[in-house]
């Protein structure tokens, strides 16, 4: 049989599987699955329990150990027939809680603890990796059988290369059909159907080979039975301990294996399918095991001594010249290996991405949770995880060198995943089971399994040093891997099974008894244990007794009046009704719930509508949802608190601003009342004297005198108005500055001349230092001169010395010029110094010369506009003011 033909058949077969998966995915996308959703497909998909280890290995097992191989089939049969209710509970929980993997189930049951999810994921990956390696090895071996059987032997085949291509091909297929979409239920119709097709191929191949052996080689059933009786098989006698142990182990494995959980719980479409599978799957297993013993017996008879009994399924037909049959057997084995690897890697990838990669990614990039498209991230994580799982399997295959060490890995892997069993059963039957107990149990079981079974499987000296085998860990004799606690001469797998399950269960129970579950754990525990007591399936609203008005009232409370009204109006119109009150149809209730849950969360929305519809019972699931929402609410309220603190701060700022405004308003009132007084005073004189003048009959000198008074007061009034306008412009910053270079000396000269108009009768001595005044300042000369005039006028007005004197001192340093005006009067009393720059703060009236008390206020505003300042200079003997002005440009005049 040409090798190339084999490769071609292989490719054609794979292409066929691709087509099946592709077509089914297409139909699933259109919602037209039809018969593909039948219990037959479900049952056949369960057949991934039978891997290449079962397909090829069972014959070898029988050839070596007789009927013991049956225990591998008894376990699942017992579970499906006897523990049907357990599976049904698992499936129900899986559907109700949208469980995506066994790690998710455990994590969800124990208070959504991701720690547990990670532990289970680790156990699953560690136990599954050698198993995947085993599948790769079986494919390589079967290729090898054909290569060596080729007559010319011209195709030397590199096993490693085959393994690589198989691994890559499987990764490609799995990624293609396993990560197409991100369904909440993680279902993969295409893959499941392809698996079902492979299941048929497996069964047909094995039955065909068996039939050929019985009726082709041997002379029918009677002859075969006679040969079996005659055969001197090593272990015909039943070892009760080992049989019980392995039956238990395979029973546990069929529940706990990640791939079994995937097809049995996650991919389950309909709980009814399980009922059919409960008898159909054992029947399938019976078919798979029917011809194992005849093949083994005839193989041992016919094949040369030393031939690998694991390959009898292939080598027997080949030796008899049945190339086509051998090809079918090869495809059966190929199917067993590939289907297992595909489903296993999907299951593991789901666990790895959901419990390890995504949490890690979200922790590293917390902002991404809201911002990014998490969907594509999850899919990418899945693809990476699938690649990683297959790479691990391939790596393990390479490291173990494809040796016989793999052959024993099947039961060891079973024992590994069986460590999840106590925690899982406890989780769904015992409400008292706690997270701490589960963690303790799992870690204990994992440790005992690794030490007593997994690590020793590499052989003494490989991972564990030889001294550990002979003297125990740390030299403690009771810590020998195969003789824990002094239990000598036990079968290693039974020994490991006994101790790992005992210690695991003990740690789990004690840990649960001595710790107290948290509230989420307790609710989840109740939800899982009492899963059948709650409502069945996802709830739909029946046409309830809800009053539309009551619903509208509630919706208004949550959504706001307008939004609720428009929602109800749209719904009413859709029902062909006028107004705002639609009938409470299930569809309307559903849409209302969806809308409300956007605001208050799904659980609360459901509970609220439940009450109005009259279904007052709030299920455990509802409570659970409320509990998980309340975590979000806590976070939300933390955010609210932060916002409240912010509001308090804002309110404080507002209060401050308000106080300032109130104060400003008071100041404004005082200012207006001051202005009123300042305006009324000259008006009073003007009115009184003008009336007197109009009456006539007055001495001529009085007419002149009163006319002058009127004139003076009118001028005073004008000046006051000018000052007010000036001040208003300066204060509003609307002042237009005319910048230019001006001589300081010139400005002081101008100011002195102008100020002479104030009390012109007084002779004022002015002391100056002219050289210091020869500075050019870049400023608004008119404004600065105005300040000087005001200061000099004030000195002329208020200096009460007998021989009044004004000293003007100029200094400049660091880009600023100071001009001091110091008189020799009494100065300004200390308490009043702070007030003099305020508006209308006239201090004494003794020498009032018509000022309104705005002069210094104007000076202050001008200097602020010029980038400088004016301040009272205390301790100079008389009144002293210092003007500081920036020297934008400085040149010494000649």
């Amino acid at each position: 049989m040409p090798f190339n033909l084999l490769v071609l058949a292989c490719f054609l077969y794979v292409a066929f599987l691709f087509t099946v998966a592709f077509v089914v995915e297409g139909r699933a996308a259109k919602g037209r699955l039809g018969w593909l959703r039948s219990p037959v497909v479900y049952t056949l998909s369960l057949s991934i329990y039978c891997t290449a280890w079962t397909f090829y290995g069972a014959v070898g097992y029988a050839a070596r150990s007789g009927l013991e191989f049956l225990t591998i089939y008894f376990g699942p049969t017992l579970v499906f027939v006897g523990w049907w209710w357990l599976l049904r509970k698992l499936v129900r929980i899986g559907r109700q809680h949208h469980v995506t993997s066994i790690a998710d189930l455990i994590s969800s049951r124990y208070g959504k603890s991701n720690t547990l999810g990670v532990i289970v994921t680790v156990i699953a990956v560690v136990a599954a990796t050698p198993y995947i390696a085993l599948q790769l090895q079986s494919v390589v071996l079967s290729f090898g059988v054909f290569a060596s059987a080729a007559p010319d032997g011209s195709r030397p085949l590199d096993p490693g290369q085959i393994a690589v291509w198989v691994a890559v091909g499987l990764a490609f297929f799995t990624i293609l059909f396993g990560t197409r979409n991100l369904d909440a239920r993680e279902q993969h119709h295409g893959i499941v159907t392809a698996i079902a097709v492979e299941a048929v191929v497996k069964l047909v191949a094995l039955l065909a080979v068996g039939s050929f052996v019985v009726w082709g080689i041997a002379g029918g059933l009677a002859d075969v039975i006679a040969r079996i009786d005659a055969a001197d098989l090593a272990a015909w006698q039943v070892q009760p301990g080992r049989w019980t142990g392995i039956i238990f182990l395979s029973a546990a494995a069929v529940i706990c294996l990640p791939r079994m959980f995937q097809v049995m719980v996650v991919e389950n479409e309909d709980e009814g399918h399980l009922a059919r599978a409960s008898w159909a799957f054992p029947l399938y297993l019976l078919g798979m095991s029917l011809f194992i013993v005849p093949i083994a017996v005839v193989g041992l008879e016919r094949m040369p001594v030393g031939a690998n009994p694991d390959m009898f399924v292939l080598t027997l037909p080949l030796a008899e010249g049945q190339g086509a049959l051998a090809m079918l057997a090869f495809l059966g084995g190929f199917s067993s290996a590939t289907s297992m690897v595909i489903v296993e890697s999907i299951a593991l990838a789901t666990m790895i991405s959901n419990h390890v990669m995504i949490p890690l990614w979200l922790r590293l990039r917390p902002a991404a949770a809201a911002a990014d498209d998490l969907r594509s991230v999850v899919l990418m994580a899945r693809r990476l995880a699938i690649t990683a799982v297959l790479a691990l399997g391939y790596g393990y295959y390479q490291l173990s060198g494809g040796s016989a060490a793999l052959a024993s890995i099947g039961l060891i892997a079973f024992l590994g995943v069986a460590q999840v069993l106590p925690v899982m059963l406890g989780g769904i039957f015992w409400r008292g089971a706690t997270r701490t107990g589960a963690i303790l149990g799992l870690i204990t079981g994992l440790a005992v399994w690794a030490f007593a079974s997994f690590l020793p499987s590499f052989g003494p000296g490989a991972v564990l040093p030889e001294s550990v085998f002979t003297q125990g860990l740390f030299g403690q004799a009771w810590l020998r891997p195969h003789s824990l606690f002094g239990t000598e001469a036990m079968d290693p797998i039974i020994h490991a099974l006994f101790w790992s399950m005992t210690l695991n269960g003990l740690a789990f129970c004690l840990g649960s008894l001595f710790t107290f579950p948290g509230p989420v754990e307790r609710l989840q525990g109740a939800a899982f244990v009492n899963v059948f007591e709650g409502a069945v399936g996802p709830q739909r609203w029946a046409r309830g007794r809800a009053e539309p008005e009551a619903l509208l009232g509630m919706a208004q409370r949550i959504l706001g009046e307008e939004a609720a009204l428009s929602l109800f109006q749209v719904a009413a119109r859709a029902q062909g009704k006028e107004g705002f009150l639609p009938d409470p149809t299930p569809a309307f209730l559903d849409s209302l719930e969806a809308r409300l849950s956007g605001s208050v969360g799904a659980a609360t929305a459901h509970a609220m509508i439940s009450q109005l519809v009259g279904r007052a019972t709030v299920t455990v699931e509802d409570l659970m949802a409320v509990a998980s929402e309340s975590a979000q609410i806590l976070e939300y309220s933390a955010r609210l608190e932060a916002r409240e603190a912010e509001l308090t701060r804002t309110a404080g700022a507002l209060r401050e601003a308000n106080e300032k405004l109130t104060q400003l308003s008071l100041q404004k009132d005082a200012f207006l009342s001051q202005i009123s007084h300042e305006l009324r005073t000259p008006m009073t004189s003007i009115r009184a004297f003008s009336e007197i003048l109009t009456e006539g009959d007055l001495l001529p000198e009085l007419v002149i005198r009163y006319g002058r008074i009127i004139h003076d007061e009118a001028k005073r009034l004008t000046r006051l108005l000018d000052d007010l306008l000036d001040l208003s412009v300066l204060e509003n910053g609307a002042v237009q500055l005319t910048l230019g270079l001006a001589s300081l000396q010139g400005m002081i000269d101008t100011a002195l001349t102008a100020a002479r108009a104030t009390r012109p009768e007084r002779e004022f001595q002015v002391v100056r230092d002219l050289p210091s005044e020869t500075i050019y300042i870049k400023t608004d000369a008119d404004r600065l001169t105005q300040v000087f005039i005001n200061l000099i006028s004030n000195a002329r007005k208020y200096c009460d010395a007998a021989r009044p004197e004004l000293r003007i001192a100029v200094r400049h340093k660091a880009g600023r010029v100071t001009v001091d005006f110091i008189d020799n009067g009494r100065g300004i009393p200390k308490g009043a110094q702070a007030l003099i720059f305020e508006k209308f703060s006239r201090l004494t009236d003794a020498n009032r010369a018509g000022g309104a008390g705005l002069g210094l206020a104007i000076c202050r505003e001008i200097m602020a506009n010029l980038g400088g300042s004016v301040a009272y200079l205390p301790g100079q003997g008389g009144a002293a003011f210092r003007v500081t002005v920036p020297l934008r440009l400085e040149t010494l005049a000649a």
Partner: protein, 121 residues
């Protein structure tokens, strides 16, 4: 003998106007520009009535009014208050002013008020 009016007012021009008007009406007017001088004058030359400005430097008009009302000798003395700020009326009345006049005023108005306060019909 002419009736005597004490005028307490810090604005010299206003004081001159009132003095002219009342003198022409046949009254004797004495004038003080601030509180201390006014109270001294009150004792030295007791008037028949007082015209009191509200806004004065140093002692305010209201303070002078309380001082007048605190002294038994002048407790019932008629007092007219002048103010340039409308709001002060209430305070002035509470402090015991008999009449109240807002600046600026008509000449005839103030003369008539003074006449009525002095009972000169």
């Amino acid at each position: 003998m002419a009736q005597h009016v004490l005028l307490i007012e810090d604005e010299p021009n206003i004081a001159e106007a009132i003095r002219f008007l009342l003198t022409r009406d046949g009254l004797r007017v004495s004038h003080a520009a601030e509180g201390a001088a006014a109270l001294a004058l009150l004792h030295r030359d007791p008037p028949d009535m007082v015209i009191l400005d509200h806004m004065l430097p140093g002692m305010s008009g209201l303070e002078i009014l309380s001082a007048i009302r605190a002294d038994p000798a002048s407790r019932d003395l008629p007092v007219m208050m002048l103010t340039a700020r409308g709001r002060d009326r209430e305070m002035a009345e509470r402090a015991g002013a008999d009449r109240f006049m807002t600046k600026p005023f008509a000449n005839a108005e103030i003369v008539a008020e003074v006449r009525s306060m002095l009972g000169r019909g």
